[in-house]
């Protein structure tokens, strides 16, 4: 064996301290397609989102945004604006010096001296009503000194390019999203991230076929139906914020740092949340202004972004240009892989965790002894970029999975066969670091069989003269987000003498069903029906520190914590009963609301009936997640595979499309899609994640593209008619979801989570199916009708 082979690590539930024993019986709750606990409020209109909160004496706020992509804010004249009747406070850089907003612990000036994108904040107004706030905004006079701007990443790295003013403060803390090293020119950290093994020069010499291509992926907006909205209420002592964010604890920390308040003086509440997709992980910039305005005026302040503001102001998915060169032998063996990715990260935001996320997937997924990839983050005068459902995973997949099909085609191999031939079970192919579980092969076989891969005709287009032509394609993915170190995730389970069982999990339910899923874990472990659990959530006061609901973190991070808390509470309950019944606690078992007093199953008591025995010593079970033993997510670790074991989820999608060669319209007819959940705790919710992934994947693959004016840097399609997201009519006629399961002892009942990854393979699978249908390889996403027609015209003109 290789001397550098990593030491094997025994799978064990990732919790601090006591490790609960295995359940020792069949599941009674987990794995069942139960209904969402919060669904009745959602279908009746009783669910109150942040925008529905109205407090007495509430003021309304508006934000003044820069019309220029790059400018010095020389002077701001408020004299006319202040005269508007009803205006209570105006904040600008002049009266808030040294004030920073926080985004993943990254400090950004609330009102920068130099604005670096169209939409950058210049002033914030609070007034008695929204009209007064709007009128005041129009009367604020700003003297800007315009600076040269650059919008294209490839232009931004050329000598003499305008220098983007990046205002994010460096932050060396590993869990921060901020830069650690100074930029050089417009280049993030002054250098690319590099992943390398073997010797690519030799690898290319050994190749029979070498393919070299360039791919382009767009930015994508989250398009949450609820625009960012909050109500901030400062009562002179405590700040309470009704937020629309994805993490109450994160937002609490962000606001406390920004406003220099002790964390216990900040309460963040998000009971219902109208869509996140990564865009609202912690407090976003807008909420800081509402909070400070509330502190200035001592009145509650409501701030709701308009749809247009929503488009220009939040950190969206970065766009990218990716050069790929691959060498393979005639038999399909990969000999060398080279890649260079240039990522347009805008004026700042949250690039740090993604520094190698575009190049990581090809490095990790394919068995190839010689590989070299580099990823450049480049600043431009476009809006901030940041987490967006599978941030650069999906961008990576768009390019790499497209490229892999072309390489397979070049050596005359079936794309599925090619992927299986170059399959690796290892995360680190040199050290042979294993994944805790990897079922990508199962996923690929499931989806291809379901789509009818055997119906797929190689080069179907050669035999077809119809104007509408069908094709089949596939793609696969890895998502490295099974917990993010330090994996600070805690839960409590409380049992009271009146039979109340409370799960305290201070998470936000963003729609994935996390709240119900965690309740199911607690119910399973306690042995009670899920209806008996009252979940305290969506409030920073609901429980100890919990992560934000993003990066598919809740199940892999909170799952073990909740399991441990529930098991701890159950054991404490058993001890109370053992003393009362004079038996040994180890003989007690519980399931479906009953506690069994020994091996005789007729000797049982109702869980609820015996809670009175607790007396006034309310039971509190506690659970805390331990760190991942290796890297789970490449935050600034150059190497995405550190430690003895690596965690990731995998998946694959296969699609059948119909391409109209007259109009360029692509219809996705059918999709089969698989994600490795480890355990589908609630298969109904897992299916829903597949559907959501398909929708966002079709959007990125075919429809959605922010259009920016090349001279002014202004985004032109800031509305939902022109920024075209998929509707019901764009959805496939059939979606066949697969929830791939398999043992993984590190997680609660093996559940590794999902949701984030499910969109990753869809755009590339569509692209590969388009080739199968009409014989053109597309190199730029989204594959709009214009681009399809242009590609078809080029094929007709060149014969290729």
């Amino acid at each position: 064996m290789n001397a550098t082979q990593v030491q094997e690590i025994k799978p064990q539930l990732l919790v601090e301290g006591w490790v609960p024993p295995p359940l020792g019986r069949d599941f009674t709750v987990v794995g069942k397609p139960l209904d969402r606990l919060d669904a009745p409020e959602k279908v009746t209109g009783k669910a109150n989102y942040a925008g529905d909160v109205s407090l007495p004496g509430m003021l309304h706020a508006k934000i003044l945004r820069s019309p220029y992509p790059h400018a010095k804010v020389r002077r701001i004249d408020l004299s006319r604006a202040k005269e508007v009747s009803g205006v209570k406070a105006i904040l600008t850089k002049d009266n808030t010096q040294g004030w920073y907003t926080y985004w993943y612990k990254v400090a950004q000036p609330a009102f920068p001296e130099t604005v670096s994108y169209v939409g950058h904040e210049v002033a914030a107004v609070a007034a008695e009503d929204i009209d007064a706030a709007r009128n005041a905004l129009k009367l604020i006079e700003v003297d800007y000194e315009r600076l040269p701007a650059v919008f294209d990443a490839e232009e931004a790295v050329r000598p003499g390019a305008p220098q983007v003013t990046v205002t994010d403060l460096p932050n060396p803390e590993p869990s921060s999203y901020g830069p650690t090293e100074p930029n050089i020119g417009n280049i993030y950290a002054g250098r690319p991230s590099v992943l390398t093994r073997g010797d690519i020069k030799r690898g290319f010499q050994e190749a029979d076929v070498i393919l070299e291509k360039v791919y382009r992926t767009p930015s994508q907006h989250h398009g949450t139906l609820q625009t960012r909205t909050c109500v901030a209420d400062w009562n002179g002592d405590t700040l309470t914020v009704y937020e629309s964010c994805q993490g109450v604890w994160k937002a609490k920390e962000d606001l406390a740092w920004s406003l220099k308040l002790p964390p216990e003086k900040v309460i963040v509440k998000v009971r219902y949340q109208g869509g996140g997709f990564g865009s609202k992980s912690g407090a976003q910039r807008f909420v800081h202004y509402a909070a400070r305005l509330s502190m200035e005026t001592k009145r509650p302040v409501r701030l709701e972004l308009t749809r247009a503001e929503e488009f220009v102001s939040h950190p969206r998915r970065p766009s990218s240009v990716v050069y790929l060169k691959t060498g393979a032998k005639r038999d399909g063996t990969l000999t060398a892989m080279y890649g260079k990715a240039i990522v347009n990260i805008g004026a700042g935001g949250g690039y740090r965790p993604f520094i190698n996320q575009l190049i990581g997937p090809p490095f990790l997924m394919y068995k190839c002894p010689n590989a070299y990839f580099e990823q450049w983050g480049v600043h431009t005068n476009l809006q901030y970029t940041g987490p967006t459902r599978s941030p650069l995973n999906v961008s990576s997949c768009c390019c790499v999975e497209a490229h892999i099909d072309e390489v397979a085609d070049a050596v005359g191999m079936d794309p599925l066969e090619f992927r299986l031939k170059n399959y690796t079970p290892y995360a680190d192919q040199v050290k042979m670091t294993p994944f805790s579980s990897k079922k990508l092969d199962v996923a690929m076989r499931c989806v291809t069989e379901a789509i009818g891969w055997s119906r797929r005709k190689e080069h179907a287009f050669l035999q077809n003269n119809m104007s509408k032509r069908c094709g089949i394609g596939m793609a696969s993915y890895i998502f490295q987000g099974v917990g993010i170190n330090p994996c600070k995730a805690n839960a409590e389970v409380v049992i009271k003498k009146d039979g109340t069982i409370e799960l305290h999990a201070a998470i936000v339910e963003i729609g994935a069903g996390s709240m119900t899923t965690l309740a199911m874990i607690a119910a399973e472990e306690l042995g009670v029906p899920v209806e008996d659990i009252r979940v305290m959530y969506g409030d920073s006061e609901a429980g100890p520190y919990a992560p934000g609901t993003h990066a598919s973190r809740i199940v892999p991070e909170m799952g073990p914590a909740v399991l441990q808390a529930a098991a701890d509470a159950r054991q404490k309950m058993f001890e109370v009963l053992a003393e009362f019944f004079k038996i040994d606690a180890s003989q007690l078992r519980s399931a479906e609301g009953w506690i069994y007093l020994g091996s005789d199953s007729s000797k049982k008591v109702r869980f609820k009936d015996v809670c009175g025995l607790i007396g006034d010593k309310t039971i509190v079970g506690r659970g805390s997640r331990a760190r991942n033993p290796g890297s789970g997510y490449p935050i600034r670790g150059e190497n995405p595979v550190e430690g003895p074991v690596n965690f990731a989820t995998f998946g694959a999608s296969a699609v059948e499309v119909e391409v109209d060669v007259e109009t360029g319209k692509v219809r996705v007819l059918r999709v089969a899609t698989a994600h490795e959940f480890g355990r589908a705790l609630n298969p109904k919710f897992c299916d829903s994640q597949h559907y959501g992934g398909v929708l966002m994947g079709i959007g990125m693959g075919l429809l959605e593209e922010p259009s920016t004016d090349k001279k002014t840097g202004i985004m032109l399609n800031t509305d939902l008619h022109q920024y075209r997201m998929p509707t019901a009519l764009d959805m496939p006629l059939e979606i066949i979801p697969f929830n791939v399961e398999g043992d993984d002892g590190f997680f609660a009942y093996s559940a590794k989570g999902g949701g984030e990854g499910t969109n990753s393979a869809i755009p590339a699978a569509i692209r590969n199916a388009i080739y199968n249908a009409v014989g053109v390889w597309m190199y730029e996403y989204p594959m709009t009708r214009e681009r399809i027609l242009a590609a078809l015209a080029e094929k007709a003109a060149t014969g290729r």
Partner: protein, 178 residues
Amino acid sequence: METRHLEDSKVTSGHEGLEPHRTRRVVLDVNGKLWSLELECRTTLAEALREHLGLKGTKIGCNRAECGTCTVIMDGRAVYSCTVLAVEAAGKRIQTIEGLAECGKLHPLQKLFIQYDALQCGYCTPGIIMSLKALLDRGSNITRGDIREAIAGNYCRCGSFPNIEKAVEDFVRRQPDT
């Protein structure tokens, strides 16, 4: 001095120059109840429902007839309440999501939405349910194409459409033939 502002006049109801706002007494028939309100003429039906009647089940996602979250039923038709003026709605029969459950008992469509997990974040759900209610009230022989068309003006970014279709198809199957 150079002053320019990022234009967002197309975004919300900006009505400078109309002050003092003209008001009018409007009687709205909402979920079978009559409400007499003194409203500014510019008030949209969505604003009247949310701000004046406290019916916040009707959500606003764009306020310019693009997203469908504000959908209510007016005289049997699904409309975007953000682009109907309250004065236009006077005398018409308005149904909102709050009127669907009777005496706390969920409407069968609401039950099926829960059963089929036809929602995720839930923000679009009231609008989608009202679009579908208008379809179902209109007639029989409802096909999958009809369902898709009925909600083609409602975005759901969470992607619940497949489950929504299944829920409605089940609803249609359960109805006695007409």
